[in-house]
């Protein structure tokens, strides 16, 4: 079994690094860690980077998860290969690009590009945001799935993810105590459906709602509150149509051994208990 410890980073292709940088700093509120010729590294917490834009096709989307050590990485590679997943062993140069010691890449059953990494770099300097959005860190992703049942089996049986709750047939899955690190979202093709950053307080969620509305950033869902994780949230659209989420107050699972996933009906109140309706954003399972 592959043991995922945490989500580590997201890599996104973008044809226009300048507007990506503009959005990331003036709207999203991340800190520029490093600006390469063809790469833009962004920080959101104590890690050296949690988001990287690379010049290229916006369809190129990768999510990295941290594993324990290099032995775990080798073990994961053979597990995946035995299950028929092609595994790419990262070169030294590619590892450097990702600011990790070593990594492997593969595709999940839907075709999402996933990397498992060892020793991602942290920074000695604290995170200092470009705007005071109250971000405390990169926390989870929504991942497209063409078959949530099949992909739930992959993530839980191969990668040791655990289901915290389900809405209809789509699972919210954890890899540590946090309610979910991976949310599967039914979609026609592979891709990252949203990227979550946690903020300090509900005040930050509401402040950003007015701040982003005032800058004509499309708000696609919220402000709202998820009855599953308890988090107050705001979803909005960034460059190349990528959806970003701010949220605060995600529950932690107190007793790993006895937690039983709750079943929520597939209906709007299962996604927002305040009454927000998604606009221009596919609900999981739509």
């Amino acid at each position: 079994m592959i043991q995922l410890k945490d989500v580590s980073y997201v890599r996104l292709g973008s044809p226009d690094l300048e507007s990506a940088e503009n959005f990331a700093t003036t709207c999203l509120g991340l800190q520029i860690a490093e600006r390469g010729k063809k790469d833009l590294y962004l920080r959101s917490d104590a890690r050296a980077h949690t988001l990287c834009y690379s010049e290229g096709d916006p369809g190129d989307q990768t999510v990295g998860f941290e594993v324990e050590d290099e032995a775990s990485l080798q073990e994961a590679a053979s597990t995946l290969e035995s299950l028929g997943h092609a595994v790419h062993a990262g070169s030294a140069h590619e590892a450097e690009q990702r600011k990790v010691k070593a990594f492997i890449g593969f595709r999940d059953p839907t075709g999402n590009h996933v990397e498992l990494v060892v020793r991602p770099e942290r920074s000695g300097r604290r995170y200092f945001a470009s705007r005071d959005a109250g971000i405390t860190g990169f926390s989870h992703i929504g991942l497209n799935s063409t078959d949530p049942g099949r992909d739930e089996r992959f993530w839980t049986q191969v990668c040791n993810a655990r289901v915290s709750d389900r809405i209809g047939d789509i699972p919210l899955m954890r890899v540590n105590a946090i309610h979910h690190t991976i949310a599967l979202v039914r979609a026609p093709k592979a891709g990252i459906q949203h990227i979550n950053h946690q903020v300090e307080s509900s005040d930050d969620v509401l402040r950003s709602y007015y701040f982003l509305s005032g800058r004509r950033v499309p708000i696609v869902f919220g402000p709202g509150r998820h009855p599953t994780s308890g988090a107050r949230f705001l979803y909005f659209k960034g460059p190349d149509g990528m959806i970003f989420e701010y949220s605060v107050g995600v529950d932690e699972i107190e007793d790993e051994a006895t937690h039983r996933p709750r079943q929520f009906g597939f209906e709007p109140t299962s996604f927002c208990m305040w009454g927000a309706k998604p606009a221009g954003m596919a609900l999981p399972n739509n």
Binding site: D203, L206, R207, M273, W274, G275
Partner: protein, 292 residues
Amino acid sequence: MNNGRAIPLINSVCYVRLAVGEPGASARFVSDIFGLQRVADLDGEIAFRSDDRFRTVSLGRKAPDGASIGIEVWDDDALKEIGRRLREAGFTAREATADECRRRYVQSALLAADASGNRIDLVVRPTRSGRRYFPARDAGIVEFHGVGLRTTDHARDLAFWRALGAEVSDWVGDIAYLRIDGLHHRVTLYPSKRNGILYAAFEVEALDQIMQNSYFMQESQIRIVQGPGREPASRQMFLHVEGPDGLIFSYVNGMAKLDEKPRLARQFPLTATSLCDWGSESKDVPELGAPA
């Protein structure tokens, strides 16, 4: 806060009596939309509950003594003291008749007016109810919280409230937040071109209910005057909505409590960020906005 007395003179804002063109139509807004419990009709006034008091809102037809706010006074001795202080300060305050007391559901009262002409009832033993509050809609209301008042004579109106033992917690420009108990404020005086009740505020359980009510009002096509927002000075979250006849009803939650220690009133500038921490603005109600 107690003006040298062992016990305070006043201890709550206990009701608002509102004057409207069509009480029946307004009553539907107050109960079905806003979420108060309709309890009784008396002499053409429709009464509503929001907590364990017998009534905190009543709607009557527009009449000379139609609108007033009720301030709960400690006892009849305190009422005498207040009468003396108000008359000394040059305000009129007369004893309510038995019929006026009955219509206000109180045992005794002084009917006063501030310098702007806002009618303020100083009342003793307002009626409580033995039954718990049970509204028609789950808006999450737990208590009538307080009022915003328009003032045309800021300095004299402040003198009126100080005679009752109220103190300024903070200023935003010349907007004065007045405290009469352990909370940051129960009454807010808004400089204005006219007098009158600006809003009646009702405490809800949590942010969840502020937001649920915000989406409910949008779906019900009720105009949100301002909010959801948060007052920086008091930390209170708010949603101001407009009912019939321009009445503003508010859901509030999370106001700061003040301890007994003396505290300077803080001065905030009259800017949008002093009125709402989150960034909500009021476009149409001048008292709630700041000059651009």
